[in-house]
Amino acid sequence: MSGGGKWGRRFVIAVPNIWLILFFMLPFLVVLKISLSEPRIAIPPYAPLWDWVDGALRFNINFENYAYMWEDSLYINAYLSSLKIAAISTLLALFIGYPMAYYIARSPEPRRSILLLLVVLPFWTSFLLRVYAWIGILKTKGVLNAVLLRAGIIDQPLIILQTDVAVYIGIVYTYLPFLILPLYANLVKLDDTLLEASHDLGASRISSFFRITLPLSMPGIIAGSMLVFIPVIGEFVIPALLGGPDTLMIGSVLWDEYFKNRDWPVASAVAMVMLVVMIIPIMILRSAQNKGAEI
């Protein structure tokens, strides 16, 4: 674009970028700064990172908050537990989502569009309310126990709500569409002639699947898995509604540091470490996207 559009061009570049720098990038610097500050009982509840003493700038950088997280096993356990919960739920979602994505990708039109619509539709209804729906199903006097008791499958109601099992169910349930969509986009491009050739050469369906379909769908598997894994690490709503006192997730720890303990410096340190933990999965996601997995 040229000539008279020069100022227009600058305006169009500047406005969204200034917005994102101001309200997305800058906040991380503030978090970093506060994570290095000393907690205080004041408003705001932290000491300034630098001040002027006798005309000289003095820095009060302090790594106490990070040291404190290292010493108190709660934080390390919460990170490990979040990673474990994210990994297991990603695998469970993959186990349920892969056959669904495969089935949809192999379906003829118009069934394919309808099924795809059915996958996306729950995503547009409230996330919070879909998590809430599981309370009524999983609680001791809930729908699931009523059905199983009446059918005579169990004699004692199962205790699922407020355990990690309920958290896994909630996570897989709400994040399933994020996994199915990139997988579908990948599987729908699979060349049928490869499978036909493999069949003609005498390979069984199972062997063709493991030697052709699965390796070719790897970018879709990785992209979909990371889209579940990364946000689940910091999940708060699902453990808060479905988990119990033993459910330990770093998102809930951060929430409690801020809302219950009012310890802003430690909450900031928790957030900074969470960002570092997420760097590797985010890089895996970006490389999968560059390899042509569509999102």
Binding site: N17, P99, Y132, G136
Partner: protein, 262 residues
């Protein structure tokens, strides 16, 4: 008869996706407050829902925030998408791409905490935003909304042939004219999809709003969360059913409209 693995898994998968939603809708008509007791069909909880002033106020606040933030997000997100796809010789595009995709996977607790701390720091430095509530939630929702809009519009722009736009530019049309007369009509479906996405995400956000809100401004998810944390609440079932109804009508209408087009 031999059952094939994938169709069976697909059926079970869809049952898993829709079972909980169906149970919410069914129990919203249950006269009894207990999940295990069927007290007969009733619209009682819908009556209680509309009589609950706290929920109605929160819904009105959330709808206003969602509508305004989605509209601003569409404008900013479209500008960002144009810069990323159509503008040539722009420095720092990979950094911009990073800024647009990062909010999509960033956990809400981090976005919420970091924005809150920014607002507090700005308040100390320049005396703005002067209290937290409507405007701070609006800024937070515009920020993640524009990232989603940018991604949707970006993919539409990349799929689109820019030959017509190039021709118009060669014939002497101003870039602004080309955008409003050619590009905009062609990306309108993406703009609508982006607006709806930003609107829905804003209406649904609990965590970020809880961080950046102040006393007195409770959005609908904040009210729902404080109610359901104590257990099942039938008027929330009624609210959920209404949302499912509205969303289903909207999505199915949109799908039918899209299909009629060549």
């Amino acid at each position: 008869m031999r059952l094939r693995f994938t169709p069976v898994m697909a059926v079970l998968g869809f049952l898993f996706l829709y079972g909980p939603i169906a149970s919410l809708v069914i129990y919203s008509f249950n006269e009894s407050k207990l999940v295990t007791v069927w007290g007969g069909w009733s619209l009682k909880w819908y009556g209680e829902l509309f009589a609950n002033q706290q929920i109605m106020d929160a819904a009105w606040l959330s709808l206003r925030i969602a509508a305004i933030s989605a509209s601003v997000a569409v404008v900013l997100g479209t500008m960002m998408a144009m810069v990323l796809v159509r503008f040539r010789r722009v420095r720092g595009k990979s950094l911009m791409t990073g800024m647009v995709t990062a909010p999509l996977v960033m956990p809400d607790v981090i976005i919420g905490l970091s924005l809150l701390l920014l607002f507090v720091a700005m308040q100390g430095l320049i005396g703005w935003p002067g209290g937290r509530g409507f405007s701070t939630i609006l800024i937070a929702h515009i920020t993640f909304g524009m990232a989603f809009v940018a991604v949707v519009v970006q993919s539409r722009l990349s799929d689109m042939d820019d030959a017509v736009e190039e021709a118009a530019l060669d014939l002497g049309a101003s870039p602004a004219r080309v955008f409003f007369d050619i590009t905009l009509p062609m990306i309108t479906p993406a703009l609508i999809a982006g607006w709806l996405l930003a609107f829905t995400l804003s209406l649904d956000d609990l965590v970020i709003a809880s961080f950046v809100s102040g006393p007195g401004a409770s959005t609908l998810p904040m009210v729902i969360f404080s109610k359901v944390r104590l257990g099942v609440s039938p008027d929330i079932n009624a609210l959920a059913s209404l949302i499912v109804l509205v969303v289903s009508i909207g999505i199915i209408t949109a799908a039918l409209l899209m299909r009629k087009k060549p």
